[in-house]
């Protein structure tokens, strides 16, 4: 898929959460770009800050604990960080949207599906009820829900998980947004349904050319759907590059360890495979490379200094001192 202009760009984004165990640097200097029609995979162990990055972009960090402390979020060149809540409301849903992980809890159990879908449509366009209803039917048809007119009257508990997630998808793209964040949208689905859902997302993207930030911990999905990948560890991106190249030659020891532990690329796994040791607690980060304590190549400098980002290929970067010495094309 040919990539168009950059729609979403994060520049050195920092977001902190105040918890009772101290300030957690959940997002700690993340930079990334997603272009029109492109899918960027954001990969990492659970708790590495992927979801917090996504929520930061929508300015929906948990309140009052979460706060963006530095950096820029550029949506089509426009910085979202200084925006007021009022301005953000006009951006959410219409220009940038998100699919949540668990379809079982993403829909309000006490309102019908139609109610919730029409509500999403009504936020950004006025119109008589009937027209909105027709639009809602069309939206359901586009996410391949059969008999949409009847489904609109259903309540969430009457639908299967896969069906609910399609509805959530329909709500998310009803804007229609330019940027879609998908936060592990298939993790809670059956394996067979997962594939259908990914296909659906690809169709939507092809039709609308939206930029997609796909959060997952599943390398199989990355290989299938993502044009580029960014690997996140302890609040930072440690390696990024085109999917094919990164898979062929991962440069960061963390990426390598992750890939080494994946048995087959097309087999989806529920969790990232094990790597010895534990990631650092995000409220007490070591001064040097965060992966150093678990890295078998780590030396003194790794313990002391956080590595710079080195270009290791075309659009391929790694934050590792070992990448410094290796030949870059």
């Amino acid at each position: 898929m040919s990539a168009g202009p950059v729609l979403l760009e994060l520049r050195d984004l920092h977001a902190h959460l105040s918890t009772r165990w101290g300030v957690v640097r959940a997002v700690d200097g993340v930079s990334l770009t997603v272009r029109e029609g492109e899918t960027l995979g954001l990969v990492g162990e659970s708790g590495c800050g992927k979801t917090m990055t996504a929520l930061s972009i929508l300015r929906l960090l948990p309140q009052p604990a979460g706060r963006i402390v530095a950096g820029q979020i550029l949506l089509e060149g426009e910085d979202l960080v200084p925006k007021s809540e009022r301005q953000m409301r006009r951006i959410r849903g219409r220009r940038i949207s998100m699919i949540l992980q668990d379809p079982q809890t993403s829909l309000n159990p006490v309102f019908s599906v139609g109610n919730q879908l029409v509500e999403a449509l009504r936020v950004h366009r006025a119109g008589p009820r009937r027209r909105l209803r027709a639009l809602a039917q069309e939206a359901l048809r586009q996410v391949r829900v059969a008999a949409p007119a009847q489904r609109l009257r259903d309540f969430p508990h009457q639908m299967s998980g896969g069906m609910k997630q399609r509805v959530v998808g329909a709500i998310a793209v009803s804007g229609p947004p330019r940027v879609l964040i998908a936060d592990e949208p298939t993790t809670a689905l059956d394996v067979t349904i997962q594939l259908q859902y990914l296909t659906l997302l690809e169709e939507i993207q092809e039709r609308t050319r939206l930029a997609m930030l796909f959060i997952t911990h599943d390398f199989g999905i990355v290989a299938r759907i993502c044009d580029r990948v960014a690997v996140m560890y302890a609040g930072r991106i440690v390696e990024s590059g085109p999917t094919r190249e990164l898979f062929a030659a991962p440069r960061h020891p963390y990426t390598q360890a992750l890939m080494a532990a994946v048995p087959r690329m097309d087999e989806s796994v529920e969790r990232l495979p094990a790597i010895d040791g534990q990631p650092p607690a995000l409220q007490r980060l070591p001064p040097g490379c965060r992966f150093a304590p678990r890295c078998r190549h780590a030396d003194d400098r790794c313990q002391r200094e956080y590595p710079a980002v080195f270009a290791v290929g075309r659009e391929h970067e790694a934050a590792c001192w070992r990448a410094e010495s290796s030949p870059s094309r």
């Binding site: 708790g47 604990a65 409220q283």
Partner: protein, 303 residues
């Protein structure tokens, strides 16, 4: 392939910060509600030392001294610090002896009602099946029924007195205890040591007494402390309605009721015992909240 759990400490971190405020754990002792604690200790001491502390008899009438205002009011004297009632009885002394009545009723009723509730809860949770669903139906029915009506009925048919009062409050209390204890038992029952005890051929009674009971003790203690204030309030309400401990024994609820007729001329007669009830119930409730957060924070959702 190896599927090792790679959960980060963060998994219990930021995601949960938006949930309930930190409860229990370290430092809870430091957050002991001292004012409540002092009120409770004070009340216990007053109740125990009533004969020593009370300046006058609580029941002796002296009509010439009737309706004297408290010492700080015009016409008050230090002889009767909080004034006297319609029959010339010393209000302070009656308040002091009234603490005894409140605590006696609370202790007896909690022991009886709590004990029955504990037993029913353990049996119901442990036995499960039809017995469990039957008992829980009865519990539900009891909880939705205004049980105070039964208490009033008892007072009229059995006659007023400590015994009637305790039976009445037991009827109100047991269901509240049974429901929470049963819930606890259900979680304990599934643990391995119960299965192990069964494998070892322990009898049901023995398992309930030796394995289940110790594990619901914390919950039971929390329930007890959370209900002291409630029982004192119920006792006061029944006394107020003329269904409590019969006069002339002083009880706070009765005192509020007695002072009602003189509210325009002698406001302190109703006001002071009410303040006593309010403070003591408040103290016990706050103390109970603290004990819950300290011993068994999970109960926060249920209580």
């Amino acid at each position: 392939m190896a599927r090792v759990d790679t959960r980060l400490p963060l998994d219990v971190g930021p995601e949960t910060t938006t949930a309930a405020a930190p409860a229990g754990g370290r430092g809870a002792l430091g957050r002991l509600p001292w004012p409540s604690f002092l009120i409770i200790v004070g009340m216990l001491l007053v109740a125990l030392g009533a004969p020593l502390l009370a300046p006058h008899s609580a029941t002796e009438q002296s009509l010439p001294d009737k309706l004297q205002p408290p010492a700080w009011q015009d016409g008050g004297s230090t002889r009767h610090l909080l004034g006297t009632d319609l029959l010339g009885r010393d209000v302070l002394s009656r308040l002091i002896y009234g603490a005894r009545v409140s605590l006696t009723v609370a202790a007896a009723a909690l022991l009886a009602g709590g004990g029955i509730g504990l037993a029913v809860g353990i049996v119901s949770g442990y036995a499960g099946g039809r017995l469990d669903s039957l008992l829980m139906r009865v519990v539900d029915a009891t909880l939705t029924f205004p049980t105070i009506l039964i208490a009033l009925l008892l007072a009229v048919s059995l006659g007023q007195g400590l015994r009637t009062m305790v039976i009445a409050i037991t009827l109100i209390l047991w269901a509240r205890f049974a429901r929470v204890v049963r819930g606890e038992v259900l979680t304990v029952k599934g643990r391995d040591f119960v299965a192990l005890a069964r494998v070892h051929g322990c009898s049901h009674v023995r398992i309930m007494a030796m394995h289940i009971l110790p594990n619901v003790t914390n919950t039971f203690m929390v329930l007890l402390s959370l209900h002291i204030g409630f029982v004192i309030l119920v006792e006061a309400s029944l006394s107020f309605l003329g269904a409590g401990i019969p006069p002339p024994t002083p009880s706070w609820g009765q005192m509020v009721a007695d002072g009602r007729g003189q509210i325009a001329s002698a406001w302190w007669l109703s006001f002071l015992p009410g303040v006593a009830i309010l403070l003591v119930v408040l103290a016990f409730n706050l103390f109970g909240d603290w004990l819950r957060d300290w011993l068994d924070p999970r109960l926060r959702q249920q209580l």
